[in-house]
Structure formats: C-alpha cells, structure tokens
C-alpha cells in the first residue's frame, strides 16, 4: 500500500530542470532510501512534497488524498514531517522548548492554556531521553553541538507523531558512532509504525538501513526496488560512474 505517491512530478528553476516527470512510490511501513548523484533533484522533490516550493506539473498523494499545493504547516498537520539538509532548530529556544513547538493543540483557548504544558513537557522529555540528549533539555539550541542538533531536530519533528518522515541527509556531517545511533533510532521508530523516506549519499548507511531504494538521476526515477537489486542495476551504475 503506497503511503506517499508521487506521479510525474516536474519542477524547473529558470532554465534548469530540477525534476523531470519523476514518479516515486513509498510503501507504508518501509524505510525507503532516495539516492542519486548530486543535482539529481532529490532535495527539490522534498521541498515540493512538503509544500515549500510550488510544482510545475505532477501529483503528490498522501494516504490516497491529494496534497497538491498544500503549505508546509498543513502538510505537517496531515502527518508528514521533515528534517533539513543542514539541521535546523530554533537557536534562541532551549532544547525542551524546541520539542514543544511542533506539538499540536486544537482550539483558541488551548493556545493559552497553561494546563497542557506539563503533559507535553513529560512527552518531550521522554523523546529527548529516547534521543539520548535529555541532559541538554535546558540548553539553548544555539549552544548545542551539531550532532545534538541533528538528534534534537529529529526528536522535535516526531513530537506531532507523523506517519511519514522525510529525512534530508540524516548522515550528513555526522561521525560513525552517532551515525549508528541515528540508524538505530530510525529502526526503532520504524518498528513503531513510522514510515521513512530518506535522501542520502552514504551508500552503506542506505543499504544497511533501507528496505526499499529509489534511484533518481536528472530529475527522474531510473530504478526502484530492494537494495541488492538496485545496487546491481546497470542504469544505476552508469548514473553514478558515467557522465
């Protein structure tokens, strides 16, 4: 069952065609890797799906409902979270406060209620614990190390319990020990039912973690399937080693 369906997506920036009739299917419950040479349009796909930039053509469907033209906050509300290539957190808020921003509250009164804080705070502390950064709960985001920020960013995104999480280069700029921690968290969250779509350049990370892999080149899908199959696909080898 396809949780996220991208059909014939196209996007150009001036003369540059970033995404060219790209189609991707992300199955529910999977950890899908999205790989391809630099400039193949991966981050653009993320930006279009999450509503940051408008598309030129194509359709994006989430849980059988179209999310074409939805803004980022609405996309998040529906259950799609994302992280950024360079981990983004709120530098002037503490780690704990960072965790609380994404938590949804319904209704006008709720926005000003003080009763809800304690419940949300304990959930946030649990998540910080899970990410093993609970010791910096009171530290300002701007003072955290890059690794801590990456973990914080992921933890915060999960606070609204999204069904699908788009990870933009989760292994980027991260040392091997932390990398293993991140991979472990992803596996555990996946076991709890969260689907992941991740863009990555670190091949071993992708091959070890992902249940499915999609390869894009020049803005379109050139291969999709199990990691082993894709690894041996001549078109994929050509894309990486060729031109």
């Amino acid at each position: 069952m396809s949780l996220l369906q991208i059909d014939g997506l196209s996007k150009r920036f001036g003369g540059v065609v970033a995404v060219d009739g790209c189609s991707i299917s992300v199955s529910a419950g999977s950890i899908t890797g999205l790989i391809g040479p630099n400039g193949s349009g991966k981050t653009t796909i993320f930006n279009v799906v999450t509503g940051f930039i408008p598309k030129d053509a194509g359709h994006v469907t989430f849980k059988s409902g179209s999310i074409d033209g939805f803004g980022p906050d609405r996309v998040y509300e529906l259950g799609i979270g994302r992280t950024f290539q360079l981990a983004r957190i709120f530098p002037r808020l503490t780690a704990l406060e960072n965790m609380l921003v994404p938590v949804r509250r319904k209704g006008l009164r709720a926005l000003f209620s003080r009763a809800d804080w304690s419940h949300e705070k304990s959930r946030a502390m649990e998540m910080l614990d899970f990410m093993e950064i609970s010791q910096v709960a009171g530290t300002l985001g701007g003072a955290l190390s890059y690794g801590q920020r990456k973990l914080l960013e992921l933890g915060a995104v999960l606070m609204a319990e999204p069904e699908l999480v788009l990870l933009d280069e989760p292994a980027g700029g991260v040392n091997p020990a932390l990398l293993e921690r991140i991979a472990d968290r992803i596996r555990r969250l996946n076991a709890r039912g969260i689907t992941f779509l991740l863009v990555e350049h670190n091949m071993s990370f992708v091959m070890n973690l992902c249940s499915e892999v999609v390869v894009v080149n020049h803005g379109r899908t050139i291969a999709a399937g199990k990691p082993d199959a894709v690894r041996q696909d001549p078109a994929v080898l050509d894309a990486y080693l060729g031109a």
Binding site: D73, R88, F90, T94, E97, P102, F112, G138, L140
Partner: protein, 339 residues
C-alpha cells in the same frame, strides 16, 4: 516567577498608582503621562517586533489613526468633555484593529526588509489621508477634542491613569502571550520562520494576530493622547518620531523581554522631554537627540536586560554555580518557559 520578582512588580505598580499623589505638580505629572504613554507603546510594539522579529516602523500610523478615530467618534456622538469620553477609547481601539487587520493581511505577505518598508509606506499613507480627507479630518487645520471640565493643576491626572491602565493592559497581554503556546510559536517564527512552518506553526495566522493586538493597543494609546492634547494635526500625530522612539526604547531595554520596553521607556522618554524642554527651541535639539540615539545603539546593541542577564549568568558561572553556565555561545534572552 520568583517571589522577589513578584514583590518588585507589586511595589512598582503601587508607586505608579500613587505617583500623582507623591508628585502632584503639573510639570511632573505631564512627564508622567508621556512616560506612561511610551511604556504602553513600547510594550505594545514589542508584542510584534520583539516576539515575531517583524520590525514595524509604521506603528505611528496606528497611533495617529486611533487619535483621529476617538476625535471623530466623540464629535459624531456629540460627547462633551469628561470621563465618559474615555469610554470610547476601546471603540477607537476596535476601529484600529480593523485597520490593522487589513494592513497586516497585506504587509505580512512580505518578509524582513520589505515588510519594514511596507509598514513605513502605510504610515505615510495614513498621514496623507489625514491631511487630504479635509472634510473628515479637518486636514491641515487639525481636529479638536472636547475639552474636559476638570482643569488647572489636576488636569493631567485622569490622563495619567488612563495611560497607566492601557500600559497595564498591554503588559498583562504581553505577559500572557509570552508564556503561552501562541507565544512559543511567535518566538519560533522569529528564530526561523520556514522551520516553524515545517513543524506546523500556522505562521500567517499567528503573525497577523500579534500584529493586530499590537496595533490595537497603540491605537488606544493614541486615542488617549489625542484627548490629552485636545487638538491634533496630521504631521504631529502620525509622526515618524513617535514610531521610531517606541522602537528605540524596546531595543534599549531588550527586544523580546517583558521588562525591557518598560525600562527603555522610563529611561528615554524623560530624557527626550528634558532635551526638548532645554533645547527644544534650538535647531541643535535634533542633533542632540540623534546623538542620544546613536550612543544607545552603538553601546548597547542587545539592550539592557539581556546584557545584564548575561553578566549575572557569567558572574554565577564564575562563582562555580553549575546552573549558571548555559554555554558560552548561548544568547541570554530569558527562556520562554521554565524547563
């Protein structure tokens, strides 16, 4: 809030309440009226500029609009001077809110520097309208307010309490927002608006709400101002200097803090009035004024409260208190909520 802070707040409020009794001469109460006016203006401006980071330089437009709104309402309903005139201030505020909703909807489609300039443009538009809709506003001839029956030495006092009430209202609203989920969203917008969007903060609605709240308070303060000076002209009530002063006060005290705007107003407004009194006739008044501006900005770019807060943090860290050291690179703005 600590017991110390609460006690300090109560004392401050008591002093403010008793001020006219402690210093009844008109010169002092006049200073008190204007100072309290700016306490309110700075606090109100901070709700938008300090929390969301969207710097509006056109708030003088709301100030002037509120002024004209009250003047026209009083004329329309043929209200004589007196306490009942104050009852129309919230109505002037409501009208200002409507204007702010319209301007805000439009202006908040832009970001950063463009937003700043659009707010300036709107302020000039308001001024232009005030000058040119002569049939309504009296244009360059100005608009008069009904003269109240109280006079003499005690003239200023009701106005002082009106300003105090509005300032207190502004502070209460600001405080409530600051520690709410709404306020957290605003601070997130200030730090990184796109990231805030990505985690589901309804940025447009939040920004617009903060803008309207901020503008409404300013409008009501402007209304009381108009009533106080009893006669208003377009260029004196839609005055860029008023708009910029409130901004400077917030920066001086500490952008985004609760006590910063109050501190900034209490320091700068008496200074401004002192300068105007002693040098107002001279051309050099503006030069001195400008020098004060520049000094403030260049010496204390982060504002008093955050700088003092950081000094205290460093002192505590130096004294070996483990809670004090939040990390060298940390920006010591007060935390949004206590962890």
């Amino acid at each position: 809030m600590t017991a110390l802070k609460a006690a300090g707040l109560v004392v401050m409020f008591a002093v403010a309440l008793a001020l006219p009794a402690l210093a009844p001469d008109p010169a002092t109460t006049n200073i008190a009226v204007f100072t309290m006016m700016y306490v309110g203006l700075a606090t109100a401006w901070n709700i938008m500029g300090g929390y969301t980071g969207y710097i509006s330089l056109g708030h003088a437009g709301f100030f002037g609009f509120g002024s004209y709104a009250l003047g026209l309402l009083l004329a329309h309903f043929a209200i004589a001077g007196g306490y009942s005139a104050f009852l129309f201030v919230p109505l002037a505020g409501l009208l200002t809110a409507v204007l702010a909703a319209g301007i805000g909807w439009f202006a908040l489609r832009t970001r950063a520097a463009t937003f700043v300039i659009v707010t300036i443009a709107f302020m000039f538009m308001v001024q232009l309208l005030a000058e040119n809709l002569v049939g309504i506003t009296g244009g360059g001839r100005g608009l008069s307010f009904p003269v109240p029956p109280w006079s003499g030495g005690d003239f200023n006092i009701p106005y002082y309490y009106a300003m105090l009430a509005l300032a207190t209202l502004g502070l209460a609203i600001s405080w409530r927002i600051r520690f709410s989920k709404f306020g957290l969203g605003l601070l997130a917008i200030r730090d990184d608006e796109d990231k805030a969007l990505a985690v589901g903060v309804p940025t447009r609605a939040f920004k617009l709400t903060a803008f309207i709240v901020s503008a409404t308070l300013v409008g009501m303060i402007g209304a009381v101002y108009g009533y106080y000076v009893t006669y208003i002209y377009p260029q004196f009530v839609v005055d860029p200097l008023i708009g910029i002063s409130m901004v400077l006060m917030v920066f001086l005290g500490g952008l985004g803090t609760l006590s910063g705007p109050i501190l900034g107003a209490v320091i700068l407004e008496p200074a401004q009035l002192w300068l105007a009194y002693h040098f107002g006739a001279s051309r050099l008044y503006l030069v001195l004024y400008a020098s004060v501006f520049l000094l403030v900005i260049l010496l204390l770019p982060r504002g008093i409260i955050p700088s003092v807060s950081e000094l205290i943090t460093r002192w505590r860290a130096g004294a070996g208190d483990s809670k004090g050291a939040a990390g060298g690179a940390a920006d010591p703005l007060p935390k949004a909520i206590s962890p």
